[in-house]
């Protein structure tokens, strides 16, 4: 177990280095990306630009620049080229909104995904099952930002069914109720796409498990149908869902929530990244990329452990 942990951690660090280095190379090589010229503006003299280049160490070899950027990122002094704001504190500012969005949406999609999956499996072949199939297929075929726009059009203040506030994030600490109300729509928009999908995966898992010998044994022992379903079938069927959830959650925290954050103007990390890329502002892009990769790698390790814990047949080796 310790060897496994060590190997996974070394692998994770290597991935982080590789990802940051590739991101760096791409943005150094991309044409029109000279930050000194953009900072200096249109009326700059050559001396101005040379001065800025020297200050930002842009004349050093690229591996020295890379090392310098990584150092300042990890000691928290990295500054954006465009706004001169501290990258780490900007990311930290965005994290509460991003995590609030992702955790809430994750709870909704996991809970309703499991509910829908169980209903669908128990009523396999009947109308409720068919309806869920249709719902799931439409769900994975919708662009999330479009669903968000439609939701805002219908339910936000000043619209036909004015029920909820129109976007923006209210910190949990300043007003829990407003926090909840403001996030209700983004949560559901992000979750809807997953609910149907998880339901379908769980349905097919349950239908596979239900024919296993130990389920027949449990029924033969005279256990109640509900108990067999909950204790024997569902427990085993949920294992793949755990993996799926871990990876999807990491992907959502690590950047897939960009579109939802942008549509609802939540000022999370994703939106910060989207705004920085529009300015070709390398330091924030690096910062957010590292942050996102960290989440993805971290959760894949967590998933491996959970998997081994839930299913003793799979031991980390």
């Amino acid at each position: 177990m310790i060897a496994f942990l060590a190997r996974r951690l070394i692998g994770a660090v290597l991935v982080l280095i590789a990802v940051s280095f590739i991101t760096y190379l791409i943005f150094i090589k991309i044409p029109g990306g000279d930050p000194a010229q953009r900072i200096a503006g249109r009326t700059a003299t050559d001396a101005n630009i040379a001065d800025i280049r020297a200050k930002l160490h842009l004349n050093d070899p690229f591996y020295v620049q890379y090392w310098g950027m990584m150092q300042s990122l990890f000691n928290g002094s990295l500054k954006s080229y465009a706004s001169q704001l501290n990258v780490v504190s900007e990311i930290k500012k965005g994290i509460p909104a991003t995590l609030s969005l992702c955790v809430g949406a994750g709870i909704i999609w996991l809970f309703f995904g499991i509910l829908v999956g169980v209903i669908s499996a128990v009523t396999a072949g009947r109308w409720s099952d068919r309806l869920i199939t249709v719902f799931a297929l439409v769900g994975i075929s919708m662009p999330v930002f479009w669903l968000g726009l439609i939701a805002r059009y219908l339910f936000a203040q000043g619209h036909p069914f004015a029920l909820l506030p129109d976007g923006e994030y209210v910190p949990l600490t300043s007003n829990p109720w407003q926090w909840f109300v403001h996030l209700l729509m983004p949560w559901w928009v992000l979750a809807v796409l997953f609910i149907g999908f998880y339901g379908r995966v769980l349905r097919s898992n349950i239908l596979d498990t239900i024919n296993e010998d130990y389920v027949r044994t449990a029924k033969a022992k005279g256990l109640a149908a509900n108990r067999v379903l909950m204790k024997h079938v569902l427990r085993n069927s949920l294992i793949p869902i755990v993996t799926l959830f871990g990876l999807d959650f990491a992907a959502v925290v690590g950047g897939s929530a960009i579109l939802t954050e942008t549509v609802f103007n939540l000022h999370g990390v994703g939106q910060y990244a989207a705004e920085s890329t529009q300015n070709l502002d390398l330091p924030p892009i690096m910062g957010v990329t590292i942050y996102a990769t960290f989440f993805i790698v971290f959760f894949s390790v967590v998933v491996d452990f959970l998997y081994a814990w839930l299913d003793p047949r799979i031991r980390p080796t």
Partner: protein, 358 residues
């Protein structure tokens, strides 16, 4: 966005169909058998027809633009009027008073359907451009990017999977780590960053010249995203195929590695590749829409379904059709590909579960 790709949906017809055809499969090729199964999956066929219809409609965009709508896709009609039921209607409203009533300015005319003789079937946008025409031209771009990037993605994934699965050893190690790396990359983030950066000046390195508005930029940026999703399961399939007798026989007859890879192994994974290809087009159309929505995909004045939604988002109150209609186009296209892809998978191999690994 995260989970757009993988699917595990079946319409529950495959097993029934497989049971029915026992006894008639002797002497038939696998492709013929697959067609026999697919032919009876009416839902999948209906959605294939829908997809073909969408492609044909988009392909006919120039005809529609010239002979029905009488307006080019980027042609604005500010300050002009058109006739509906003998009445002159402003394409984009001028502000002011009509009698006693105040009329807001700059509001484009809504969907006319067929009441205006084919003009402004889906209304106009804020510059007076015909939304239906832009929808069709935008569809060409969305489909081009979706299909093009899916082609590149599948091609690369197949070649990498063949190399990794056939040679094994360090080749397999390198390719597998490459898949891991793409997997761990925050792909959407990188795609947005790349798309934005490349759309400013284009790309002029290694003898490749892409102009700044080139459709190749979003196509290439999107194409790498799903490579590991396809490459990993294919690599697994090839590894097990590689141990089969027919490969040994081919090698014993003196077939070169390339020959074994392309004439022995490739036909055996062709059915999985075909299914993946269909589902990846669907997924890539969604990714393209997301990129274009954030301004990192197709660049103005070109349109795609994603940019049309982005253009419409600020006018969602006064002109909701601008954002709603292109979204419906995306949903129909992606849905048709997803349903057909599932049907295709069931038809090609009702027993094996070909699905995108995650």
């Amino acid at each position: 966005m995260a989970t757009e790709s993988s699917t595990d949906f079946t319409l529950d017809t495959a097993a029934e169909l497989a049971a029915e055809e026992q006894g008639v499969i002797e002497g038939k090729s696998p492709w013929l058998l697959a067609w026999r199964r697919l032919r009876r999956n009416y839902i999948a066929l209906a959605f294939l027809l829908l997809f073909v219809a969408i492609v044909v409609m988009c392909a006919l965009a120039p005809v529609y633009s010239a002979h029905v709508a009488h307006s080019a896709p980027n042609e604005g009609h500010l300050g002009e009027t058109f006739t509906r039921d003998g009445k002159q209607i402003q394409i984009v409203s001028k502000g002011g008073f009509a009698g006693d009533k105040f009329v807001a300015g700059g509001v484009p005319v809504g969907p006319q359907l067929w009441h205006a003789g084919g003009r402004y079937v889906f209304g106009a946008d804020n510059l007076g451009r015909d939304v239906a025409v832009r929808l069709l031209y935008g569809g060409i771009n969305s489909l081009k990017i979706g299909i093009g990037s899916a082609l590149i993605c599948t091609l690369l994934a197949v070649v990498l999977a063949l190399l990794a699965g056939y040679y094994g050893g360090w080749v397999d190690w390198v390719i597998s780590r490459f898949f891991d790396l793409i997997w761990a990359f925050p792909v959407l983030l990188l795609a947005i960053a790349l798309g934005t950066a490349l759309s400013i000046n284009g790309f002029h390195h290694f003898g490749i010249n892409l102009a700044q508005g080139s459709l190749w930029i979003p196509t290439l940026v999107i194409s790498y995203v799903l490579i590991p999703y396809v490459g990993r399961p294919l690599r697994g399939q090839i590894m097990s195929l590689r141990e089969k007798e027919f490969i040994e026989a081919a090698t014993a007859q003196g077939a070169s590695p390339l020959r074994v890879m392309f004439t022995e192994l490739t036909p055996n994974i062709a059915s999985s590749v075909l299914v993946f290809f269909t589902l990846i087009i669907a997924s890539n159309i969604l990714t393209e829409a997301g990129l274009s929505f954030l301004g990192a995909g197709v660049q103005a004045p070109n349109a795609s379904w994603g940019t049309l939604i982005a253009d419409g988002q600020d006018r969602i109150v006064t002109a909701p059709w601008l954002a709603i209609i292109p979204g419906i186009a995306i949903v129909l296209t992606v849905l048709s590909l997803n349903v057909f892809g599932d049907g295709l998978r069931d038809a090609l191999d009702p027993r094996a579960k070909v699905r995108m690994e995650r």
